[in-house]
């Protein structure tokens, strides 16, 4: 495994900010994921070294929490809310439509790295159910026809 010194320095700064305290592991991982977009193996290794904890422990934590990811997301990460309100209003069909159109499964990224597909726990926009997020942008009351339209927004750019 290799990692560039620039990235090592970035991780060290984050760990220092939290006093190299292994009790702050989750906060450190949040910040690291924000910096790198995901948490690849080498990043976790540097975090473990800095916080003086075992790599197995860091991975144990990363793999426990659904917010952490070890695969890079697409340029436009698509999140489908699977909360109850969205479920009742047809989120599953919307999800399937995305799967069909993008030809990927949940947790995967398209070959061109453009889109990735994930489930999301309730985002609390139940009034707009079913809800789809593309990056920070929220689409409410998404219909099956709407799915292609959403993708079109990003395919043009």
């Amino acid at each position: 495994m290799t990692i560039c010194e620039n990235n090592v320095a970035k991780i060290e700064i984050i760990c220092k900010e939290f006093n190299y305290d292994k009790g702050e592991l989750i906060n450190v991982l949040h910040k690291t994921q924000t910096t790198f977009g995901y948490l690849p193996e080498e990043v976790q290794q540097i975090v473990a070294q800095n916080l003086n904890t075992s790599l197995a422990h860091v991975y144990g934590v990363v793999s426990f929490y659904s917010f952490f990811t070890m695969t890079p997301k697409g340029k436009f990460p698509i999140n489908i809310c699977t909360g109850t309100a969205c479920y009742v209003r047809g989120a599953e069909k919307v999800l399937n439509e995305f799967k069909t159109l993008l030809k990927i499964k949940v947790g995967e990224t398209t070959k061109d790295d453009k889109f990735s597909l994930s489930n999301l726990r309730c985002v609390g926009a139940c009034g707009l159910a079913p809800v789809v997020l593309v990056g920070e942008k929220v689409y409410g009351r998404v219909t099956l026809d709407g799915v292609q339209k959403i993708l079109d927004d990003y395919n043009e750019s």
Partner: protein, 591 residues
């Protein structure tokens, strides 16, 4: 001790205050089944994650069933251990575990020695009502340990050993829910991880999720090959534990029967690792005295304390976790490896056979020894000094497979020359033993006086970290002892911070030392067994004619005929080693 009154299944009992329901029930003869629970009393280690839910009982006033292992008994508590609700729950939960577990018991490595199997038998499980998806993982084979996570029941005992007791940190629970399992980081193989192969995870695993790599078949093949001279060495801790596999009480010494069994199995020569242990003391004590004398003469460059180096789990531990301190331990090889290098040079010459035609097998209480013998530095032209290591458990299997009736065997003696040993070598098998053996020799060499009382009681026992000052005729020598790698870590951190005041420290990776090794018959949570083995070790020492390593005639002869003196050039070449930085630092690139 204050007592309280409780009721179990409508019967009144008086139990000690402050105990758990499980302990209280046990104290009055009521059996509550457990699976994940583990209590190693003499090692001060308890593991009760309350995850298996086999010990649930009904407590009046509580809405749900409670786990007996972690619920404190309160005065007047009314407990039901045998209600239909409790029994149905336990049975259903056990069925759930079995629904995610292979049912290949007949051909499983732990057949007959599996906690889950016994539990299913006790509960009379005959049908699995709940079936569905089962977990499947890639099997992982390292030089010493095999992981078959399909058989993991998630009890987490291995995690307590690896992380809390040993502080190795090779394993963690990963993922969550149905997908959760125990694994090294990124589900890499154990070999790529920081695992030291101490085998404590294997020793506590209730199923066959973690087992030793089995070399019995290969050894049988070599025994059957007439072109090979197969010799065997047996470690001191094996003889006080092997009997357990054949129904003897823990602590029964079976040295003579073991030797006889090995001869029956067809080994050409049956030797004793104890011979090499005496050799180790010759080298290690000399090294200690060398450093000590230089230190006392004011040499500030000398590294003290000297750390023992016979334990391969411990060696891996500092190579992985304290590579900056790799020049502190003694460079002396472990007895197993000293035996191997002498056997394939000195002995092979004596017997007039070629190196490649000699097979050296070790019987060890240890799994890390399997890895140790595979290290590159212990081979000449790709031919290892020690070819195969069998654990105590594997030897027992081998004897059973061969149809040998162990109990009726007549005692046999070790062969010469490498079968002769002192009492000092025997105690290598227990925590504190190596340093006591070293002191017996170092004292006489340092002071030039005869040591009259060879028993250093102050160095014995089962406390995690022990220390003592030995008077070397006016020079106080401070000795430290730690067993369990977590305790080793504490001492190493003291050394790193410059706070250590010791001259010499003995470290053993396994709790109790080799008697509690990862290759020994399973304790099943009963740490009394360890005490019995320890007692037997010291009894064996007491019964020996020679109790100091430097008085072993065969060892003396070896120096005269072959090695010259301790720390000689030849001794260095054959009996010493070097250590490596295995912290696996990441390659850092410019951009």
């Amino acid at each position: 001790m204050d007592t309280i009154n409780i009721k179990i299944d409508n019967k009144n009992f008086q139990v000690a205050e402050g105990t758990t329901i499980l302990e209280a029930a046990k104290s009055v003869g009521v059996n509550i089944p457990t699976l994940c629970y583990m209590h190693l009393h003499h090692l001060n280690t308890t593991h009760k994650p309350t995850g298996c839910r086999m010990c649930v009982v009904e407590v009046a006033g509580r809405k749900n069933l409670v786990p007996a292992c972690a619920t404190e008994c309160l005065p007047g508590m009314e407990i039901k251990n045998q209600s239909i609700r409790v029994l149905n729950s336990r049975k259903t939960v056990l069925e759930l575990i079995l629904s995610d577990h292979p049912t290949d018991c007949l051909i499983c490595a732990k057949n007959g020695d599996c906690d889950l199997q016994s539990m299913a038998q006790e509960m009379g499980i005959r049908h699995l009502h709940y079936q569905g998806e089962q977990s499947h993982y890639i099997k992982d084979r390292s030089p010493a340990i095999k992981r078959d996570m399909d058989k993991c029941i998630g009890c987490g005992r291995c995690l307590t050993m690896c992380n809390d007791v040993q502080t190795v940190g090779a394993l963690s629970a990963i993922n969550r829910g149905f997908m959760s399992v125990v694994a090294p980081a990124f589900q890499m193989n154990l070999e790529e991880s920081v695992c030291t192969y101490c085998g404590q995870c294997v020793a506590v695993c209730p199923t066959a999720a973690l087992t030793e790599i089995d070399h019995t078949k290969t050894v049988i093949r070599h025994l059957a090959d007439p072109s090979k001279t197969v010799i065997v060495q047996t470690a001191p801790a094996v003889r006080v534990a092997l009997g357990e596999e054949f129904g003897y009480d823990p602590g029964t010494i079976v040295t003579g029967k073991m030797t006889a069994a090995l001869k029956d199995l067809g080994f050409d020569y049956v030797f004793d690792t104890d011979f090499a242990a005496d050799l180790t003391i010759m080298e290690e004590a000399t090294e200690l005295l060398d450093r000590l004398t230089r230190h006392l003469n004011g040499d500030t460059t000398v590294k003290l304390p000297l750390l023992t180096s016979c334990c391969p789990g411990w060696v891996s531990f500092f190579e992985h976790h304290f590579p900056d301190m790799k020049d502190i331990p003694s460079t002396a090889r472990s007895p197993q490896q000293m035996f191997g290098s002498i056997a394939k040079t000195y002995l092979a010459d004596k017997l007039g056979i070629k190196r490649k035609d000699m097979i050296v097998v070790s019987i060890m209480p240890c799994l890390a020894k399997k890895y140790e013998c595979s290290r590159d530095e212990f081979a000449t032209d790709g031919n290892p000094d020690v070819d195969f290591v069998l654990s105590t458990r594997e030897l027992a299997r081998l004897i059973k497979q061969a149809g040998i009736d162990f109990k009726s065997l007549e005692h046999a003696d070790f062969d010469k020359p490498m079968g002769e040993s002192s009492g000092a070598a025997v105690i290598f098998g227990s925590t504190g033993g190596v340093i006591e053996a070293a002191v017996r020799t170092a004292y006489e060499v340092f002071t030039n006086q005869k040591l009259h009382k060879v028993d250093f009681e102050q160095l014995r026992g089962m406390d995690w970290i022990r220390e003592s000052t030995i008077d070397f005729n006016g020079t106080p020598i401070k000795i430290g002892i730690a067993h369990g790698l977590g305790n080793a870590r504490k001492l190493l951190e003291e050394i790193r911070e410059g706070k250590s005041l010791y001259h010499a420290i003995e470290i053993m990776a396994c709790p109790g030392g080799c008697i509690g090794g990862g290759g020994q018959p399973l304790l099943h949570g009963d740490s009394n067994i360890l005490l019995a083995r320890q007692k037997a070790i010291y009894a064996e020492d007491k019964g020996k004619m020679i109790r100091k390593s430097h008085e072993n005639p065969s060892v003396k002869k070896l120096y005269e005929e072959f090695l010259g003196s301790p720390m000689s050039k030849k001794a260095h070449e054959l009996l010493h080693t070097q250590y490596f930085d295995k912290s696996n630092p990441m390659k850092i690139t410019k951009d």
